[in-house]
Symmetry: C2
Subunit: 214 residues, 2 copies
Amino acid sequence: MEQLLRVMNFNVSRDGIGAGEHQSLEEPFGLPRPERLFGWAGATASWPTRTEPGGSRGLDDCFTRDFARNIGAEIMGRNKFGPQRGPWGDHEWRGWWGDEPPFHTPVFVLTHHTRPSFTLSDTTFHFVGGTPAAVLERAREAARGRDVRLGGGVGTIRQFLDADLVDTLHVAVSPLTLGSGLRLWSSPEELLDRFHLEVVPSPSGVTHHLFWRR
Amino acid sequence: MEQLLRVMNFNVSRDGIGAGEHQSLEEPFGLPRPERLFGWAGATASWPTRTEPGGSRGLDDCFTRDFARNIGAEIMGRNKFGPQRGPWGDHEWRGWWGDEPPFHTPVFVLTHHTRPSFTLSDTTFHFVGGTPAAVLERAREAARGRDVRLGGGVGTIRQFLDADLVDTLHVAVSPLTLGSGLRLWSSPEELLDRFHLEVVPSPSGVTHHLFWRR
């Protein structure tokens, strides 16, 4: 069984921006706040961090309910874990994801700085360096035959794309222009030399971009 | 956790026909053969009965890879199991689904005629009578908290819709007219009094219809 590396439910603006700059503890997505990129997902019935009943079960929900299906591990950039830079000063603060992180698998956080692994509920965070290929090998082993989710952010996805390790990408493009911030692409067409692309507009206003390897 | 009853990857023609008439052992889908309804699903990477590598991973694949996610049981009409009518004459023939049925859960086959349960690989077939509500209750119990798939055919889906037991439907409408056969609806608009509807055209030519309860 093939073990895919998958980008899932990643959000960018019409001009390709996935996060603001100047990330901090108070501003996990940086400034200007790109929070309008995420509304489509939170409105669905299956969004993993939904706490209230209800929500839509149309096209957008097909993507959010796929979040955990056949996923055995996640790889994320350090900035998706927390705002710290350089050596880890404070081991007490254990990331943005609370006591019940929505991952429920091993998570590999990319960093040049060592830190002991720890477990919150059924999610274990490992802190790993090395090449994208080496990290993916560790994540695949931990995933025990299941796929690996590449969680972002922008820099992490770019790094794994540059190493040609990504098998599928689902990117939701929101109908707004942010102007500045961290950019995934100038245009989705940049990936067409290596990927098939289907572009699927949703009634919610986002446009789902589905890429898979040629 | 809510346990949904879900119609998934059900196929009809533009004129609402899901199967031919005069079903037989040689013609599981009746005549005229409606096989052109199913092509979109077989072309995807995640179609459960795919045997070769490859296949598309675009929009259509989002639906086929959802086939088993969080499903704990299936309910199917007798005609989806086999072409027999009346009392079960032959217990040796064990349905159309081979030694490795794609369900991997308990399956409840609707019939007025008793027959012992049996297991093929990790699928157990039970043969049950009673009202749709009573059958659904048994299936929910067997599903142990997971959702229940309502597998069809047309008559079975109609029966559960009439009893107002269906929570979500995904119906793929193919761009062809069959003229005669077993009809799910005259128009998808018949369901709009009870369901939200999103209509999503796919590059493959089918149009996905996604219904969920109001």
